[in-house]
Symmetry: C2
């Protein structure tokens, strides 16, 4: 890390920021959506947990199998086996009415005749005295204990995002907690006297809150600070005491009152911060630091610059903090090859261009309507679903790579 | 609506379910991510709210413009204009030091010289006595009040999802609340005696909770009910009193103890419910009803069947309840044309096949490894990111349409 003002490339800046963070410590917690596994998740129970019926129908011993019988035949029905009841064994020459999921004795050599293949109407009704079987199934319709997953089977590797399907799989396999990475604690400090005196509302703080929250559970503290270096220093100290990441907006440019840069340069050991220009538009002025060991990401204050910088740099940092696999670089993220639905603005420098993306089988990307997006054109952002990173002109009908938000 | 047992197509079933719901009533609420506008959102303030500087630099009257001056020239600096301060007018023959966002008097005929084009070093420092200008800018670097958005401009139409960019745009334009659709209240009733007596854990309830929560803010009540019709009827009554939607799992098939179907058929007026088979695998047994006017979606109990049915039918219903644009049909959702990375299972009936989707410029879809996914193969779901709807065989290298979750 250096504190020179030389332009960095987007790739270099991303790598430098990413070097500041590592996955947060692990803890055991209830499985919940958006957490990230810190250890592999292993089945405690086999799936299915016991032999059971795959169909609504009648359980009969193997004796009455395709090898030994011809349809139709009639058997007395000697009992009911709803799901949730104890397993029962039908005596030879009898049948049990059984429900989907109803237990079958472990290893029982028999088969389930689907109700549709008998003379009994499907659905609720009293237990019939006899059942006449019209057709024998091609398989036994018994799901064997552990036939899907054995106890001890690895359901998911470390660094897996916990989602609805993993929750279902884990609970089914008797696992309701997991060792997951701690939820990130982030302090957002929006700076600028104009935010304090009502000249401008703070839009960056709520915007970053929403962007970071969209990456998963996060504990965000938001604050607005004017241009007082003493006050900002106090905010940094408070934030560093209980945050995993500090994000500032504004105050990083070339101005005489750029308080973030001034405070960091005054307080932080040389070599532990950088402010300067990244070769990108919008959002060239950027900076970062370690404050008492806590990473500080200093975003520009213009809302479009803050927005695209958050997508380029901040949300990947959040994902790495949360324990997801570390990207190999700024472009190591989901991307699509789209067709330009309109001419894109000419990039004089690498241009981060928000765009709408239509996913209708083909993939078409459009820059927002209206004039070229400038860094204060915040009202042009709604309706965009991703960004392109343009280094050469793209005209209607040409292909380009887009990165969904 | 009929209560016959005839197979419905996926399309027909989707349309019937969708006919049960409409967007929830509107209320005024703070702008927050995931809410949906019930009315257009209109700028209260112009953007920018006042003339201001686009650069850190020096504000000078137009008199010193490219037409009338040649560089270099030197002017006394008579004041500082940080962002958040009152606007000041530089007297003729003088300059004001001004920050990005610093106010400029309304309509002031002047220009901002970027600090980089002067003899003053960028960044913090005491106000200089004079500034020498080395280069005149090609434009005035003044952002005019309302030049981006006029007061009264429509920022977003009704049925727009509130996201980070809309929050930023709205707050910037002086709007902090909006008329949005109410947050859906959903009761999930997982049925089955086996869930009550510990024979099986309830995995469907938490899974559906996670799936529905991923569509946006939702107020979910979860409950587990055994096979007692009296008790289930009580749960329906309780749920209908304060829910916008009721979702059940299990008890809809052809079994003798299929309590959901039995209770609905007993209690609900003929014509206001349907149970039967949808021409799909997995998840053929489906059902729906109106219970005291509240839509009830009855999903199958097998976890893979419940999972794919939730994606096909339930999450679109949630989006419509929340006020997003109503889909024209079950396939009116984002979709991608992918290349099969492996052979997909042969569909004997329309097959809803969860698959992983690699987005690396090209789009490749893979069915989960291992044997053909059966309706209890819940551990094969993690790692899938969408589904294909297969009606004919798809082998490696062929194209198919995938629907991201």
């Amino acid at each position: 890390m250096t504190s020179t003002g030389t332009d960095l490339s987007i790739e270099e800046y991303f790598d430098r920021l990413h070097a500041l963070v590592r996955a947060l410590p692990a803890e055991r917690a209830a499985l919940s959506q958006g957490r990230v596994l810190a250890e592999p998740l292993v089945a405690r129970l086999p799936l299915p947990p016991q032999d059971n019926s795959a169909m609504d129908g009648f359980l009969i011993p193997r004796h009455f199998s395709p090898d030994s019988l011809t349809v139709p035949f009639t058997l007395p029905v000697v009992g009911d086996v709803p799901a949730g009841s104890p397993a029962q064994t039908p005596p030879p020459g009898t049948a049990l009415r059984i429900m989907t999921g109803g237990p079958v004795p472990a290893g029982f050599d028999g088969l389930v005749i689907p109700v549709e293949d008998t003379d009994i109407p499907p659905g609720p009704g009293p237990m019939p005295e006899t059942v006449t079987v019209h057709r024998l199934p091609g398989r036994n319709h018994i799901r064997r204990r552990g036939s899907h997953v054995e106890a001890g089977h690895q359901l998911a590797v470390a660094a897996t995002l916990v989602d609805a399907s993993l929750i279902a799989a884990a609970l089914s396999a008797g696992v309701s907690t997991a060792v997951v990475h701690r939820i990130p604690r982030v302090t957002v400090i929006a700076t600028g006297e104009e935010l304090l005196n009502g000249q401008l509302p703070d839009s960056n703080g709520p915007m970053l809150d929403a962007l970071m929250s969209a990456t998963g559970p996060v504990d965000i503290t938001r604050t607005v600070c004017g241009d007082s270096p003493v006050e900002l220093r106090r905010r940094f100290d408070t934030a560093a005491a209980d945050s995993d990441l500090i994000v500032t907006t504004g105050g990083v440019s070339a101005g005489a009152f750029d308080v973030v840069r001034a405070v960091v340069e005054d307080a932080v050991e040389r070599g532990s911060y950088w402010f300067g220009h990244v070769n990108q538009r919008p959002g060239a002025p950027q900076g970062y630091a370690l404050w008492d060991g806590v990473p500080v990401v200093c975003l520009p204050g213009n809302p479009v610059a803050a927005f695209v910088s958050a997508h380029l740099y901040l949300t990947p940092l959040m994902r790495s903090l949360r324990g997801l696999p570390r990207p190999t670089g700024v472009l190591d993220r989901p991307h699509l090859t789209a067709v330009a639905g309109a001419d894109f603005p000419h990039p004089h420098r690498p241009l981060i261009q928000p765009c709408s993306i239509a996913l209708d089988g083909s993939i078409t990307a459009f820059p927002p309507p209206g004039p070229r997006m400038r860094s204060h054109h915040v009202a042009a952002l709604p309706g965009t679903q991703g960004f392109a990173l343009l280094t050469s002109p793209v005209t209607t009908g040409e292909q380009l790579t887009v990165y969904p938000y």
